[in-house]
Symmetry: none
């Protein structure tokens, strides 16, 4: 009665084991999935590959995950939970500095972002998955927007600031940092980036709005 209670939550996970050893296997599979998805992409990665890389048999894979897609879902579940962006407080003495910090922390989640690279193709085929990700994106967007709104209410921003558009621009820039670093091989100068973004939002000190 209690042992099997919430096993089949949402019919998704064939089995989420309680025991330590089994948990390890499950995690090992998740980790292998993540690595291979990021390295080779989602479609080309096979269940067999993941199992082998995790050091278990293919049958074991299907004990813990109904299929590849579900492993990915579990992976995202894990990561998205950890990934809520900090409350951006623009109303501070030094918003630039704060923003730089935010950007940098975002970059620290590069690993998770790795998965992002894998997703675009899936989003087309998998509305459920798309929903999860769009939702996560909306969270980010909402956070940024809230911060901007507060700043605007305080009269700190450009008076004609189109909040939605700016929030979106910031989000897009954030999201593309990892790709940029990968392509160019250069570290991002977060302070510089923050300065630029702030110019979108705040009029220069010397101005009267």
């Amino acid at each position: 009665m209690s042992e099997h209670e919430d096993r089949q939550l949402a019919g998704a996970f064939p089995y989420v084991p309680q025991q330590k050893r089994a948990q390890q296997k499950r995690n090992s599979l998740l980790e292998s999935g993540r690595e291979l998805f990021i390295k080779n992409g989602y479609e080309p990665t096979t269940a067999k590959e993941i199992a082998t890389h995790a050091g278990v048999a293919i049958g074991t894979f299907y004990r813990y995950f109904s299929d590849k897609r579900q492993l990915l879902l579990a992976l995202l579940q894990n990561q998205l939970d950890k990934m809520l962006p900090p409350e951006p407080k623009w109303i501070m003495a030094n918003p630039e500095q704060f923003l730089a910090a935010i950007l940098e922390s975002h970059f620290k989640q590069l690993e998770q972002i790795g998965l992002y690279q894998v997703l675009p193709e899936l989003l087309i085929r998998d509305p459920e998955l798309a929903e999860i990700l769009i939702q996560s994106r909306k969270n980010w967007h909402a956070r940024i927007l809230t911060g901007l709104q507060q700043a605007k209410e305080k009269g700190l921003t450009w008076p004609d600031l189109e909040l939605e558009v700016v929030a979106w621009s910031i989000l897009v820039i954030l999201e593309n940092i990892p790709k940029k670093e990968k392509e160019s091989g250069l570290k991002t100068d977060y302070v510089e980036l923050a300065k630029i973004i702030c110019r979108m939002v705040f009029p220069p000190k010397g101005m009267t709005s």
Copy 2:
């Protein structure tokens, strides 16, 4: 005169037919490929599907393309050529307005951009393809950068403007407009966006730099 000029760029076209009817079939296949890649993604789209959608037999597909990948290459070849961004002239009476025009024209190339959505997964697996795309991106980037440099030399921009970073930010914003429109379903207000971008670049009129 120039229509067939650089057809063989990426090499390996098994056959580019001269006759009218055959040309139509080839184009029909290209178009079907584009549609299906955008709709369903690259990997999940099969050669058979493309052929059927184009109303030809599978054998015909392989008459004109060595495989799916090569059709994609041909597609990109076509599109990337058309996609050189206009020379961005920041040094004008009204840069905002000009930028808005650029942004809008870029959006008109939404169709081509459709393909962009298809590529991320490929970039991992296909270095040659990645090279083509990164090159195309660098062209854009260089154009934007050039414009910024000229503006800076004229003393029009923020004096401490980090050109590379701004150019990249603008590029990223440009690239993500189509995705945004698709997700939100809203038309982009290019004028508004141009205003924001210009604030990254130019100090407000009332300021002395």
Copy 3:
């Protein structure tokens, strides 16, 4: 009436053209077929290849031959006709010398023999073809046998000579000369070979039979 008279002989040749130009094309196809069969084998050679090699369109191939197999048949027809072995006259002053000459002339037909290398696989699948070849082989065998019989009747051979077996042995040796030369790269010493064969057949001069 006369023009079409014997076109469809045996239903085999779709069309054996009377006109010079057409004859040339047909011959060109035959020749290309022969070369490619010998070079690459029968199965791997495609009709398209033969046509291209002959400098005609694939449609033309099918105008003159119903398929690849029939081209091969026509080829064999041609060659086997030319290939009747000479009457072996063992009853001569110097049978060794005569045999050496036969062997050498056989080798001159090496080109035709080239086709032999192509056939073994076909013989399994194509009883009709096998029949043609076995027949041709039987001709050779019969000729050799006849010669031996005459020699035996004259009391020239070993008295206990098992004619069939010797004839077969000689035939086998003959048939394998081209393969041997190809593998070893060495020219065959026909005189030496003839000597050996003669020892199978004739007792040494000093013996009384």
Copy 4:
């Protein structure tokens, strides 16, 4: 002890199973391959056919063999190992009798020879395979040659015996026995054949060399 010793000779076995049941399947595939290759030839036999004949799914075929060619290689590996000819000892009281025995034992390996019929076409396309077979042939040739040399040194043979040529002739005769039996349907009289061959090698008893 030695059963599995040199399994990996030709490399590339995707998987040689350890378990009994699986071994049976693998053997079943090998056997089916052999039968079908001999019956229908190599090229026309498909992997699917072999699998079906062996009573397994096509996927199982590819579990044990990378492709048709590799199955053939495994087959040859097995057979060629068993096929080293006995040391031919010509220096005996009764070489004829000994030779007859050799010939007969060779014929007992008819099964292996079955595969020989399959090979000619392959030899053209597959140099690696050709190498294996030519090597095996050279072994035979060398054995025969050695025997002849010893006999010659003892002064038993014709003094002018061209060893290479005779050895080759004997080899060719040996190799063609199976084909002959198949075509004619008659059993070979090994004693008679041995007599003939011996006449190639040894002068008649009554002669002084």
